[in-house]
Symmetry: C2
Subunit: 144 residues, 2 copies
DNA sequence: TTTATTTAGGATAAATTTGTCCGAAATAAG
DNA sequence: CTTATTTCGGACAAATTTATCCTAAATAAA
């Protein structure tokens, strides 16, 4: 459904949020370990999340990544997915037809519109806060 | 959403169905042209669809691909997707967690289950007949 | 200021997906 | 039987995604 990079990115962001809610900064190394992702690859993903303004990064000793606590509630799953995978999941025809739209629909057009609208709405309605607290409560875990 | 191979496969199958309903066999070349897909790559995909029993293939002059007319109604979009992409779209955690299931759900588990169930149901309820007649009526087109 | 630590970012490599090439096998028709 | 046509299938190539390596830049602390 999502790219590997996006999966790592979501998990990493959730973990950073959990730590940020405890006023802790986390290092790349710690994140990669927790999320079970390759360190250097994770670095690239965090870099792009930082450029998108979703997470903050700080260099140097005691450096690492964190998220402004006031943002944790407003950041949505959709923002993370969009920052990494762009809008390719939401846009275009389910069959890859370029000329397919509401006026010249392919045979499955309406069916895909429904599914994708649901997905989009779900992602837009799911806040990072929700994800982070769901995890914090101990019901869930990010490894493997 | 689907792999390129799967997109080509769906479009090719729809086209073969349309022709089969007119008692016509179609060649690889004609299919690739209609579907706007690379010929040799399309050959591989059709090969696997033939092995899955979704389409029939015949070698030699006047050879080509066709679908048993009695099957056109029972073949579902899900069958085509499954033959090419397997079940990776439907199975597993939205975040790629291996230990995520109903008993140990990740923060987005239930949300993804809903979306994916919808997708699966839609694919299982969409028949090739429906796709082929929708196209035949001229409302739609497969190229580009 | 020096050193140690941590992210940034470019270059490169491995893996996967997508796409190509070509000869073999089947088969219809002359 | 021979030939032309068409799919089959293996090997190879290109493109994309995933992953690694290494140096630079920032920065906290001694």
């Amino acid at each position: 459904m999502f790219s590997k990079a996006c999966e790592y990115g979501i998990k990493a962001t959730i973990y950073i949020a959990v730590k940020s809610m405890r006023q802790e900064r986390v290092s790349l190394k710690e994140i990669a370990e927790e999320v079970n992702s390759p360190v250097a690859f994770t670095a690239k993903i965090l870099q792009s999340l930082a450029k998108s303004g979703i997470i903050d990064s700080h260099k140097g000793p005691t450096g690492g990544f964190q998220i402004d606590e006031s943002k944790i509630d407003t950041i949505k799953l959709h923002d993370i997915v969009h920052a990494i995978d762009g809008d390719k999941i939401f846009v275009g025809c389910g069959l890859g037809l370029e000329q397919c739209d509401a006026s010249q629909p392919c045979p499955v057009h309406e069916k895909f519109v429904g599914i994708r609208d649901n997905l989009k709405i779900m992602l837009q309605n799911t806040s990072l806060y929700e994800l982070a607290t769901g995890l914090d409560i101990g019901l869930t875990h990010l490894k493997r």
